[in-house]
Structures are given as C-alpha cells and as structure tokens.
C-alpha cells in the first residue's frame, strides 16, 4: 500500500522551501510524523493527560492504560516475549548508556573485552569507551570489508572467551549496510558474551524479531520511525534486566523508601525513573499502528527500491562517488556520497535553495569517516513518503550543483 496517498498523511511535506516544493531526504536523522501520530498526541493532551500508576481518578487510569497499551504495541512490534522486557527511555543513546553503565559496570572487569565495529554511531562507541576506561577493559574494533560490510570471519577473529559484550548497529546510518545480527549474536554467545544491538536505523525499516535474532539487548528510538522525539525503547532479556541495577533513582521506579535504604519496582518500571514520557509512548504506539498498517515488509521492499533507483540515477552523474555496498538489496534506503571536490556543506546549501533537504557532515560516525578517508559526506535517506519523483528532484539538484560549481572546483 505504499503509494502517493501516503505522502498526504504527512502535512509537513506539503510546503515550499526557498520557493520550491519540499523534498525531505533526511529521514535517517529524524522521520516526519503522520497525522495519525500528531492527532494521537493532541488527543492525549486534550482529553487524557494525567500521571501514570499514581492517581486513582479516571484520567489517571486512562493515561496508565494508554502508556501500558503502547508498551504492549512495542512488545508485539519487536516480538519480545513479555512487556517486562520493554523499557521506555528517551531514545537509543540513553538505552545504550543504560546497558553500559548498569550491565557493563557489573559484568566487565580488567582485561575483559568489548567488541564493536568501525561503522558505529558515536552513541554506540562512547558508552563502551567510557566503560572500558573505567573498568580497565579492552575495546576492540571489527574491521570492515572495502564495500562497508562486515564478514563473519572478522567477527570470529575479534570475539574471544575474554569478550563480555559485543555491540553492533543493525543498519548503518551512513553506509546503509544491514549487518548479520543473528549470526553475530550466535558467535557472541558461543564465547559467553552478551549481544547488544543498536537498532536505531533498523526499527523504522525492517521487521524486528528479537526472539529470532536472540540478541540480549536491542535499543531504538521513536522519532526515526514516525513517532515523537524523546521516546525510545530498550529491549532486554528478562533474566538480564532482572539482575541489573537501575542507574536513575526516584519517581516512577520507586517501590518502598526507608531512611537509609529503598527498594525498586519490578520490571520494566525499575528503569523508568521520574515521570515517564507518557505522551511520547502514546505517540510511539500510534506510529507503530501506522507502520503496521503499511507493513514492515512493504517498507523494506520500498526502501530497497528507492536505494536502487537513486543509486542508478546517481551513478550517471560523473564525479559522484557513492559509499557502501553496491548491491541495493544489501542496504536500507540510505545513499551517502560525495560530488567531485564540492564540500558536502556547500552541496547541501545549494540543494536547500532548491527545497531539497539532505544531511551533510560526519553523521556522528567520525571513526567511520576516517575509515572512508573523508572528513564529511552528503547523505540522502528515504522513507515511506518518498517516491521516484523526489529522487528525480535530487538528481536534478545534484546536476545543477555540479554545474554551479563547475568553474570553481
């Protein structure tokens, strides 16, 4: 059911930017929100707003039902076995930091290894850097193939019996690469390590099944999948979460408070300090309904199609270099590139003058930029509301950009 009608659900797309109809190609940074999500947030604040798990009044019950109802939607969306395994947090970064600070501190000792890859986003590098420094552990990087994919041989070479944590992104926000998470998880488990998945770019685009992947932790954000900003999820296997200590204390996570000691609520609330992100969860629930209605399989197919169409058309432009896998089936709807000597910022500014929004910079993946031997790149990322005409506009914009700078560079 991906057709032109979908665009009409996104009011923000119906506007002109710098005198041209907007073409939004920066969904990997954040996706736009459909009316269904905007309405759900509006309705919640207009009719149901109250704190959860506290009041005995009607609105309190309603808000609690909606908040916990959203948790059940998330559980189904990622096929977790129980809602106890679904923790609402601010986003992927917070979720990965929770794993590092809680599970990591308790289980990683001096000389132990933490294994990540060169393609990780800063959010999946720095929490482990910090943990390694604090615990005297060793942070190891899995190298990449020249096309920006990961081979299982390299994973096997990096993961040893000293490895306590393997953490890897499911889909690269720069290369679009889809990583073999299930196989990597198996390797991690053979060595007794836990597998952490940064699912920020995967959850919006692929059908997620945490039981099938068998990963131990899976983190993602709502705002990249049509939901609001400020809400995200940490999935964790129940046994692991049960044995972990919270890192934030007060509010929703409290069970009993004495003068010198206190106890926490059970899962998943023990990790949800303060007043939780209630409207955010409601909005995420609405986003999940929206995505389910389209079908995650449909979305994945659409993205491959967009990537293939874009790569074909962009390869026609002389001097344009695309990074990452050449096979569109091996990548999500993300195309990262450079055009001749035009700096990506200059390129993005020129495209912006034609109403085309792309990302330029290091995409919070500085080690990967180093690996690619460039300081910055431009990135076009596609989602359900993009179609071929958007890519045609991009290609036309790139041709004009090239022409504009032709006597300069």
């Amino acid at each position: 059911m991906i057709n032109r009608e979908i665009k009409s659900y996104f009011p923000i797309l119906d506007q002109e930017v710098n005198g041209h109809p907007l073409v939004y190609l920066d969904s990997a940074a954040t996706s736009q929100k459909p009316v269904q999500v905007i309405e759900a947030l509006k309705h919640y604040y207009e009719f149901d707003n109250a704190n959860v798990h506290r009041g005995v009044h009607t609105l309190g019950n309603r808000a609690t039902d909606m908040y916990e109802g959203a948790r059940e939607k998330v559980r189904k969306f990622i096929n977790a076995s129980s809602t106890e395994e679904v923790v609402f947090l601010r986003g992927t970064t917070t979720a990965l930091n929770l794993v590092a600070q809680s599970y990591g501190r308790a289980n990683v000792d001096e000389g132990d290894e933490i294994v990540i890859t060169y393609m990780e986003h800063h959010s999946n590098i720095i929490p482990w850097q910090q943990l390694a420094k604090e615990r005297g552990a060793i942070l190891k990087y899995i190298d990449l193939n020249p096309d920006g994919t990961i081979s299982l041989e390299q994973v096997r070479a990096a993961v040893t019996d000293r490895t306590k944590i393997v953490s890897m992104m499911y889909v690269s926000n720069v290369l679009g690469t889809m990583n073999p998470i299930k196989e990597v998880t198996q390797i991690a488990h053979e060595h007794g390590a836990v597998m952490v998945v940064d699912g920020a770019q995967a959850a919006p685009h692929l059908k997620i099944d945490v039981q099938n992947l068998d990963c131990d932790f899976f983190a993602f954000s709502g705002h990249k999948m049509c939901g609001p900003t400020g809400i995200g999820v940490l999935y964790g296997k129940k046994d692991l979460l049960n044995n972990m200590e919270p890192i934030e204390f007060g509010g929703e996570m409290i069970d009993f408070v004495g003068l010198y000691d206190s106890t926490w609520k059970e899962l998943p609330w023990k990790f949800e300090g303060g007043t939780p992100i209630i409207a955010g969860a409601v909005g995420l629930g609405a986003a999940i309904d929206f995505l389910n209605e389209i079908g995650l399989h449909e979305i994945e197919q659409h993205e491959h199609k967009m990537a293939a169409y874009a790569m074909n058309a962009m390869n026609e432009i002389e001097g344009l270099q695309i990074y990452g896998p050449t096979d569109p089936l091996k990548r999500a709807g993300i195309v990262t590139f450079n055009l001749n000597d035009v700096h990506p910022h200059d390129l993005a500014t020129v495209l912006d003058m034609s109403g085309i929004a792309v990302r330029a910079g290091h995409h919070c993946a500085q080690p990967l930029m180093k690996w690619l031997a460039c300081t910055a790149t431009a990135r076009a990322s596609f989602y359900v509301y993009n179609d071929e005409s958007d890519i045609d506009r991009l290609v036309e914009g790139l041709r004009s950009t090239k022409e504009y700078f032709s006597d300069v560079f």
Binding site: N18, G19, H343, P344, H345, D346, T349, V350, D352, M353, S354, A360, G361, H362, Q366, M369, T375, A376, G397, S400, Y404, F405, V408, F409
Partner: protein, 146 residues
C-alpha cells in the same frame, strides 16, 4: 535553482580564496598554535600566529572544511597580519556583527572580508564562517596572558 541567493553566498572572491588560499601552512614551533573544530560538521582548523610586542607579525592556517570556512580562514589571516592585537580583535567583533546581520563599524576597511556578508542570509553556515575568527581570538588572547 535560486542562483541569485547563492551568488550572494558564493561570491567570486570567496571561491578564489577557497581555490587559492592565502597563508596556508603552519608557522614554526615558537608561534601560538590553536586547533579548533566545528563538532557538528567536522570542519577543522589549525591556526598558528606569531605575535610580538602586541603585533600579529604572521599568521598561517591549515585544515579542512567547506568553501566558506576555508575562505574565511584565508581572508582572516590576510586581514590580521601586521595589525596590533586590539585591531585584530576589533575586526573579529565587526565580523561577528556582520554575520549576525547587525549594523557594524565601517570605519575600518574590511577588504575581501566584505564578500562574506552574504553568509548572514544562511544561518546554518554562520558557524563555518566564524570558526577561524574564533581561533584567532583564542590565539591572541592566550598569547597576551602568557
């Protein structure tokens, strides 16, 4: 494409400084060395200044970034060379006002720098233009303290 707006940004003189940067390189180890970057986009500049008796005797820059950031660095080094520290800081102040679209002191001849005025119409790019100037401010101030 609204090339009229773009032409305001990418003036020929800016492109000329980008293509053939003035004062590219590094000064010897006795000079003031300042490294700055723009963490949101990865632009990076290394500025070396030779400051003697309150005068910026020489200035060189190295780094990588977009045309605006590199052209601005080239123009800045050109503008502050031979000036006393106070005048250099005054220029930086004028430049900052110009970027923010404020009225600025026009008693000093800005030379090529004036070409960067168009950047003020592109808020997302102001940081690119000011990077080298911030480095210069830091450099001359750290030198006067020592």
């Amino acid at each position: 494409m609204s090339s009229k707006n773009l032409d305001q940004l990418y003036r020929q003189v800016i492109m000329d400084h980008y293509k053939t940067p003035r004062n590219k390189g590094t000064l010897d180890a006795n000079s003031v060395n300042i490294e700055m970057n723009n963490p949101t986009c990865g632009d990076r500049i290394q500025l070396t200044l030779q400051v003697e008796e309150g005068i910026v005797k020489d200035a060189k820059f190295d780094g990588e970034g977009c045309s605006i950031s590199m052209a601005s660095a080239s123009m800045m080094t050109q503008a502050v060379k031979g000036k006393d520290v106070d005048t250099a800081l005054q220029l930086s102040h004028i430049f900052s006002d110009m970027m923010l679209g404020k009225e600025y002191d026009d008693t000093i001849d800005l030379g090529d720098i004036e070409a960067l005025q168009g950047v003020s119409q592109f808020p997302a790019r102001i940081k690119c233009a000011t990077l080298a100037w911030k480095a210069m401010e830091k450099g001359v101030q750290s030198d006067s303290k020592s």
